[in-house]
């Protein structure tokens, strides 16, 4: 908000850089949190909702661990594939002698409640990120980075486990940008769409949703696969955080303040190459 920036100037004069000038967050006021409050709050609510969805979703699959393609599918029909686990219903032929306890009641209640939480949180995040230019400034890669070369360079650097310079810790690289944008604009919309296509009430009102997916059982199978991709993202996301310093990065996502990861700062990196602008800022801070 321009008003609050003016207020900042009045209290404590310091350079305020217009956010839309550059994606290089090193240019920003160093007091600006690494992650805005809205990002932190919606991130952790999404974490809670996602785990609830994952656990309840897996539990619902246990009642019928067979997947089909097309409109219909049941135990009298040939499945597309089967997950080799015992089922929670004795009508499902699994090859196992025992039947798991039925947990579908609370799993379904929890699944839909968590889905509401995730969708509403996602809406707040999406609208806020359009208004405060989070998407534009932080997530859309800078034109120079939109090349295969830049993409490969980031991966190579990560694989070499090369130390990060501080500017990098304040912004997302092109691989991160693409991963986050894919989750936000492809996987989440897809998982919501395929999930809604399983609702007989919703399908009555909007039949095109399920019909475009090739039928109800196709929608269920796709819902399962998209959930799998989201789980894959989660695993890689947590692994990358672990590599960068799990607690320091987690603390940053809670408090917003960037703490240098001890793992990545060795002697040679104590005085890293700093751009002219950030030198000015650090001197002013000092």
């Amino acid at each position: 908000m321009p008003g609050s920036e003016l207020l900042c100037h009045a209290i404590r004069p310091r350079p305020c850089y217009p956010r839309h000038v550059s994606t290089a967050t090193s240019l920003r006021n160093p007091d600006t949190p690494r992650h805005a409050a809205i990002v932190r709050v919606t991130h952790w609510i999404t974490v809670i909702a996602f785990f609830a969805l994952l656990i309840s979703g897996a539990e619902i699959v246990v009642s019928h661990p067979r997947f089909y393609w097309g409109e219909t599918g049941n135990v009298n029909m040939r499945p597309l594939f089967t997950i080799p686990i015992p089922a929670s219903r004795d009508t499902v032929p699994t090859g196992y002698k025992y039947v798991m306890p039925d947990q579908n009641g609370w799993s379904r209640y929890l699944h839909f409640q968590a889905a509401w939480l995730a969708v509403l949180t996602g809406l707040v995040y999406g609208i806020a990120s359009l208004l405060n230019r989070h998407f534009r400034d932080d997530l859309i890669p800078a034109p120079a980075d939109r090349t295969w070369r830049a993409f490969r360079a980031v991966i190579a650097k990560t694989l070499r486990r090369a130390p990060l310079d501080p500017a990098e810790a304040r912004s997302y690289n092109v691989v991160q940008c693409i991963a986050y944008l894919s989750v936000i604009f492809i996987l989440f919309p897809l998982v919501i769409w395929t999930g809604l296509a399983l609702s007989p009430g919703f399908n009555a009102a909007f039949p095109v949703g399920v019909n475009l997916l090739g039928g109800r059982q196709s929608a269920r199978t796709l819902h399962f696969f998209v959930s799998g991709l989201l789980l894959l993202f989660l695993i890689i996301h947590v692994a990358m955080i672990a590599l960068a310093g799990f607690w320091s990065r987690t603390r940053t996502m809670i408090t917003g303040r960037l703490v240098e990861s001890p793992k990545r700062t060795d002697k040679s990196q104590e005085r890293p190459v700093i751009s002219k602008e950030s030198t000015v800022i650090s001197e002013e801070r000092a």
């Binding site: 008003g3 609050s4 207020l7 209290i11 619902i60 699959v61 009642s63 019928h64 067979r66 409109e71 219909t72 599918g73 049941n74 135990v75 009298n76 029909m77 219903r89 004795d90 009508t91 499902v92 579908n104 009641g105 609370w106 379904r108 209640y109 929890l110 839909f112 409640q113 968590a114 889905a115 509401w116 939480l117 399983l198 609702s199 007989p200 009430g201 919703f202 399908n203 009555a204 009102a205 039949p207 399920v210 019909n211 109800r216 059982q217 269920r220």
Partner: protein, 251 residues
């Protein structure tokens, strides 16, 4: 952290506006029947949001109907509880003595035999049965729309729900009037050009095609119109919430 007076006032106004609009929404939701009977407890908010959203979006929409070629060759009947003597007493095939009692908030309580029900307008629909477990099949369902029977007994305008009971005492459900008067909600007597097989709910099943299979109760013997679900069972609306399942099964 600097908390300016402006921010404090803005936050205060936002919180007040939020709280009062929530209270107004709750009032409106109750007034327009957007609150399900199992709205209490931890999962109440999610259930209420789902039911309210679907009622606002889907009240008049029709379940998808399919061409005859899509009728499943291998439908799955699912298992039912073992039949007790009261079911076994009925003559298989004809069910001559089967009665459907209709009572509660109606001007002319009545009891119908299967042939009485056959004298109502008979319709058919090709719709999908969707089980909460994930499986499904498409079949042609033949029967009389529930609204025909409700109109004939003169259901009172105050009635808000229809409660329906299986001969299996543990299986009873209820639906709101949007579903009860919906043209695809059938008292089903036949399936795929034949009588309704016992496995699929014969002789009489209430099909609610816009909700999951467990709302389509098999072996219907009684319907009751009511404005208050609290007086039935544990007051949660139907047997499903008592067993841990949602009352509204449109999702």
């Amino acid at each position: 952290m600097n908390i300016s007076r402006r921010k404090l006032i803005t936050a205060g106004l936002a919180a007040t506006a939020g709280a009062s609009s929530l209270a107004a929404a709750a009032l409106m939701a109750r007034r327009y029947g957007l609150v399900p009977p199992d709205c209490k407890g931890f999962y109440g908010p999610g259930e209420t949001l789902t039911y309210a959203a679907q009622r606002l979006l889907t009240t008049h929409s029709l379940a998808r109907e399919f061409p005859r070629t899509m009728i499943s060759k291998t439908p799955f009947a699912n298992e039912v509880s073992p039949f007790k003597d009261d079911f076994k007493l009925h003559q298989p095939g004809t069910f001559k003595a089967w009665r459907l009692a209709v009572d509660g908030m109606v001007t002319h309580p009545a009891s119908f035999s299967l042939s009485d029900l056959h004298s109502f307008p008979i319709r058919s629909q090709i719709t999908e049965v969707v089980c909460e477990e994930g499986w499904s099949y498409v079949a042609e369902w033949i029967g009389t729309p529930l609204f025909e029977v409700l109109h004939s007994v003169g259901v009172l305008p105050q009635a808000r729900y229809i409660v329906y009971f299986s001969i299996d005492r543990d299986w009873w459900e209820s639906i709101d009037m949007a579903d009860a008067l919906h043209p695809q909600t059938f008292l089903t007597l036949g399936m795929n050009d034949g009588d309704l097989p016992v496995g699929f709910g014969g002789p009489l099943r209430l099909r609610v095609p816009r909700q999951l299979g467990y709302k389509s109760v098999k072996y219907i013997t009684r319907l009751t119109a009511t404005d208050n679900l609290k007086t039935f069972g544990k007051g949660l609306g139907s047997a499903s919430p008592e067993a841990g399942y949602a009352w509204y099964a449109g999702i």
